[in-house]
């Protein structure tokens, strides 16, 4: 008997989007928005039940997990299956994805002004793609969902947003397609080498066995994956799509992009580069460490010089992903725990920051922080609610950002990875970014909320109930993770010991 819990989770959004697209549903905005919201809430409750009932004591072994695997022979004749399974890493990210998509759909109310049917159905297709990536158990099913996201996201970027949309959308899809070709090559090599090594055609990544294969080929696969996932993450030098796309997309889309799609790239690195190719990762760890430090410093320095609020936040995400990179490259228990914690914490922080930026953009009509002043007078509630989120982005204790950065830097500092430059020096350089992040985040806060109010903005009203609820929910998560990080870190540290190749630490 098959277990359909996971397929329902993954495929229900796309099925609902087909229903939404069909002529049965009228094209009035209220009908579409409300039915999507209702669906999303139901889907969120379903995910929440899965999250609560999940057996967190089972580390890594998906077969004995209480969420049964769904197995189906998709293309049985060449050994490609369509199986879904979740372990602790994926269930946490799935929970995260559900929250973020719910927030994005709620936030769309005042921000989307036309073609409602298309917009909501495309968002739901992207949700299917993300959930599919996170729960896929097979290489090519993973890849199918990885590419499924491209065209819907392209259309969304093309139709909604500001600035030169066509150029941005083209840039996005070209970069992503470039990356996914490398991933495809890597997956093909894994599939073929597994066949050469074991004689069976299989694409299940828990069964892949490439132990007897020459290391040089494994290096190539590793680099393919690093480029492919590095574009999504992004690693510096593959990053130039990110500031444009994040800043010009409509706010709910920016939230989805920065809070979930970057994390999906990180998930790819954790799954493929660290789990499937775990013996190769040690050799490349110094490289990743250096890339991470460059990411942190470059992201922060670029963020200082920007005037566009969304661009500042976009560059700060690059910096945050740099922290993720040095944390995984440390190969310590604390470091990897911190890295995964950083993914979750940064999702909430960047969602909050983008929400604030989006609200300001809608109210003032500009994203340039030099033109906006003194909004605190007119929008006291927004001003009050942005304090915890911005402080979390800076990394103040008792908020989630602090825990994530603290764990990551401790991990990197105690790492035994041998690098050209000493790891401790590298980490110290990276720590400077904390100071820089203070500068740019507080710059936003200061210039937007303080000072003398521009006369143009006299008519502005404070945020509505929708936006209040969204911000409060995000703040609750940020504070909860800051005060009770043990609820997640305990599980994650055990998980990282079992699943990753850890060489050092306390």
């Amino acid at each position: 008997m098959q277990n359909y819990i996971l397929p329902i989770l993954v495929f229900s959004p796309i099925i609902f989007s087909i229903i939404l697209m069909s002529p049965i549903i009228s094209s009035e905005e209220k009908v579409i928005r409300r039915s999507t919201k209702t669906f999303s809430i139901i889907h969120f409750i379903y995910t929440a039940i899965l999250l609560i009932t999940f057996d967190y004591t089972n580390m890594g072994n998906v077969i004995e997990s209480n969420l049964k695997i769904f197995n189906s022979d998709w293309i049985e004749s060449i050994g490609l299956n369509a199986s879904f399974s979740v372990d602790i890493l994926s269930i946490l990210l799935i929970g995260l994805a559900s929250i973020i998509f719910l927030i994005a759909i709620f936030l769309s109310k005042n921000m989307i002004k036309h073609s409602y049917k298309l917009y909501y159905s495309l968002i739901l297709i992207i949700q299917t793609a993300v959930l599919g990536i996170l729960s896929a158990k097979d290489l090519f099913i993973f890849f199918l969902f990885w590419e499924l996201e491209l065209i819907p996201m392209y259309i969304i970027l093309l139709k909604w947003g500001s600035g030169n949309k066509q150029k941005t959308a083209r840039k996005f899809i070209l970069y992503k397609f470039f990356g996914s070709m490398f991933i495809l090559l890597g997956l093909l090599l894994l599939y073929i080498l597994n066949f050469i090594n074991t004689g069976t055609l299989s694409d299940d990544f828990y069964n892949i066995d490439i132990s007897n294969i020459d290391n040089k080929i494994k290096y190539i696969i590793f680099l393919f994956f690093l480029i492919g996932f590095g574009i999504k993450l992004p690693i510096i030098s593959l990053h130039s799509w990110l500031p444009d796309v994040h800043s010009q997309a409509e706010t709910p889309i920016s939230i989805i992009l920065s809070a979930i799609l970057l994390k999906v790239g990180a998930y790819g690195i954790l799954r493929f580069n660290m789990q499937v190719l775990n013996d190769i990762f040690i050799i490349f760890a110094p490289l990743i460490m250096i890339l991470g430090v460059i990411n942190i410093i470059y992201g922060s320095i670029c963020a200082i010089n920007q005037k566009d609020i969304k661009r500042i936040i976009a560059y700060s995400s690059i910096s945050a992903m740099g922290i993720f990179l040095i944390a995984i490259a440390s190969l310590t228990e604390i470091g990897i725990t911190g890295a995964i914690f950083q993914l979750i914490s940064h999702a909430f922080i960047s969602a909050g920051l983008f929400t604030i930026a989006g609200i300001i953009y809608i109210k003032c009509g500009t994203k340039n922080i030099l033109r906006i002043k003194g909004l605190g007078e007119k929008m006291p509630i927004l001003m009050f609610l942005s304090i915890p989120i911005m402080l979390a982005a800076v990394g103040v204790p008792l908020l989630s950002g602090f825990i994530a950065e603290f764990l990551s830097f401790i991990g990197a500092f105690t790492s035994q990875v041998e690098c050209i430059i000493d790891v401790k020096i590298l980490t110290s350089i990276a720590l400077l970014s904390l100071i820089i992040s203070c500068i740019y985040i507080l710059k936003i806060y200061h210039s937007v909320f303080f000072g003398e109010l521009n006369k143009r903005y006299n008519q502005i009203k404070d945020i509505n109930i929708h936006q209040k609820i969204i911000l409060i929910v995000l703040i609750v998560f940020v504070i909860y993770l800051g005060i009770f990080p043990f609820s997640i870190t305990n599980i994650l540290s055990e998980y990282s010991i079992i699943n990753f190749n850890i060489i050092g630490g306390f």
């Binding site: 004749s77 093309l158 495809l184």
Partner: protein, 478 residues
């Protein structure tokens, strides 16, 4: 008695097509009013009868007929099914295949039928001379089809077709004569037996290369691709959709047989073919970038697909051949989906320019979604059958050896460039500037074909296993 037996076992669909060719010519004398509808109906009935007659043929292992000139087995029958399906779809997808001079519809359909006959014969040809004759039948029919419009561009296209195609034919014939000189035989199976026991020489490779070049013209790969694009531009949309499918399927079937039986003795030949395929992919990917004419875009896109098919053929093992079969089967629906959308649009607005499609989504969302599905499939992205077909062909090629993997990397990098043109069309559909697009309701039947093709494209992605199993079984019987 032997003749009847032969017809019954190997020649039945062809005979029915021949009968309908003659019937078309006779009917053209008597029917003068409303010819198009009647001709369409009669010819579709003819193709359907021929399709049904396949069920009565003998499939068990291989049946040779007419002194080993033709053969019939599972492999040929699969390809015949594909040809007939695509012929039915092409005819159904075109509201009216010829715009001017409606009285000549029966002649037009008799030419289409003879092209189908040529391709059916080419598929089952077991000696090279039969193949040559049936290929000429196919090509000459295509000359007429391209030249049927009687305007300047159409004539130019037809003339270009004649000149290039004849040069390809010359190469083919020259190759055949060498091969006959080497072996003293023109039967493919016999040549295979000869070279099983004796080593190949440089002359064999040259002859084979010439033959390959002759067939490649049908696939539209380098060095013939430039001409092909002009031909597409000159002929009508319906003719284009016909030319882009039927000669290609037949040529693929025959070339695969030649590779398995003869050419695979020469590794250099496989290498050269793979490189030709790679150059075609790269050339078409780059060439597609600047196109603004939708026909030229489809032409470049079809060259990219031919490149992948040729790459898989050059591998010449069972996996790659089954992947070719599957690829072609999915390509029928993708191609007809894409073409039929343009046919309908062109009938209403008489435009070839991609930019003229702008704002189509707002007026006709479902039509555009069907078109986007086909374009996505052409680009090889999920959730369409194009993705599965590409995935399957890549796994088959990558399985062979490391040399092919290098070629695959290069081909994949080239397709990244070609993505630009596919997304350009999607971009145009969603452009804000609305024009007064209003597709009439009169193309209902053609739209149904479009929707069916789009739906099949999506369904194959979800459950491809059945088709892949069939193509694997078929590939064993080559």
């Amino acid at each position: 008695m032997i003749i009847i037996n032969d017809i019954n076992n190997a020649f039945l669909p062809e005979v029915i097509i021949i009968i309908f060719i003659l019937l078309n010519i006779i009917l053209s004398l008597f029917i003068n009013k409303n010819t198009y509808k009647k001709a369409k109906l009669i010819n579709i009935i003819g193709i359907i009868i021929s399709f049904i007659s396949i069920a009565f043929m003998q499939i068990t292992p291989t049946y040779f007929s007419y002194n080993n000139a033709l053969l019939s087995n599972t492999y040929t029958i699969m390809f015949k099914i594909m040809i007939l399906i695509s012929a039915i779809l092409v005819i159904l997808a075109s509201p009216s295949m010829i715009r001017e001079k409606r009285k000549r519809t029966f002649e037009y359909f008799s030419i289409i039928q003879s092209a189908i006959l040529g391709s059916l014969l080419l598929i089952s040809a077991n000696d090279i001379l039969t193949a040559f004759i049936s290929m000429e039948l196919l090509t000459i029919s295509c000359y007429f089809l391209t030249g049927f419009r009687r305007n300047h561009k159409s004539k130019e296209a037809s003339l270009k077709y004649i000149i290039t195609s004849s040069s390809a034919t010359i190469l083919f014939l020259f190759g055949i004569s060498y091969l006959y000189g080497l072996c003293g035989n023109i039967n493919i199976s016999t040549i295979n037996e000869i070279y099983l026991s004796q080593p190949i020489n440089i002359l064999f490779t040259t002859a084979s290369l010439l033959i390959i070049l002759g067939i490649i013209f049908k696939l539209g790969c380098i060095p013939f691709s430039n001409w092909l694009i002009d031909i597409y531009e000159g002929s009508t949309y319906s003719t284009c959709s016909f030319i882009s499918l039927i000669p290609k399927i037949a040529a693929t079937a025959f070339l695969s047989r030649l590779f398995v039986y003869i050419f695979q003795f020469s590794p250099i030949l496989q290498l050269i073919t793979a490189i030709i395929a790679l150059i075609s992919i790269v050339y078409a990917s780059i060439g597609a970038l600047k196109q603004t004419n939708i026909k030229r875009f489809y032409a470049y896109s079809s060259i990219i697909h031919s490149g992948f098919i040729l790459l898989a053929i050059s591998v010449a093992n069972v996996y790659s051949l089954s992947s070719v079969l599957f690829y072609i089967f999915t390509y029928i629906f993708i191609n007809i989906g894409a073409w039929s959308a343009s046919i309908i649009y062109n009938k209403e607005y008489n435009t070839d320019n991609i930019e003229d499609y702008k704002g189509l989504y707002y007026k006709h969302p479902y039509f555009s979604i069907a078109l986007i599905t086909s374009i996505t499939a052409l680009a090889g992205l999920p959730p369409t059958s194009g993705f599965i077909a590409k995935l399957y062909i890549f796994t088959a090629i990558a399985r062979t050896n490391s040399f092919y993997f290098v070629i695959l990397i290069a081909a994949l990098l080239a397709t990244i460039i070609s993505l630009l043109i596919y997304i350009k069309i999607i971009k145009v559909l969603f452009n804000k500037q609305q024009n007064t697009i209003n597709l009439n309701k009169k193309f209902k039947k053609e739209k149904i074909i479009l929707y069916i093709c789009a739906l099949i494209t999506l369904i194959i992605c979800i459950c491809p296993d059945f088709l892949i199993k069939i193509s694997q079984i078929t590939a064993y019987y080559i």
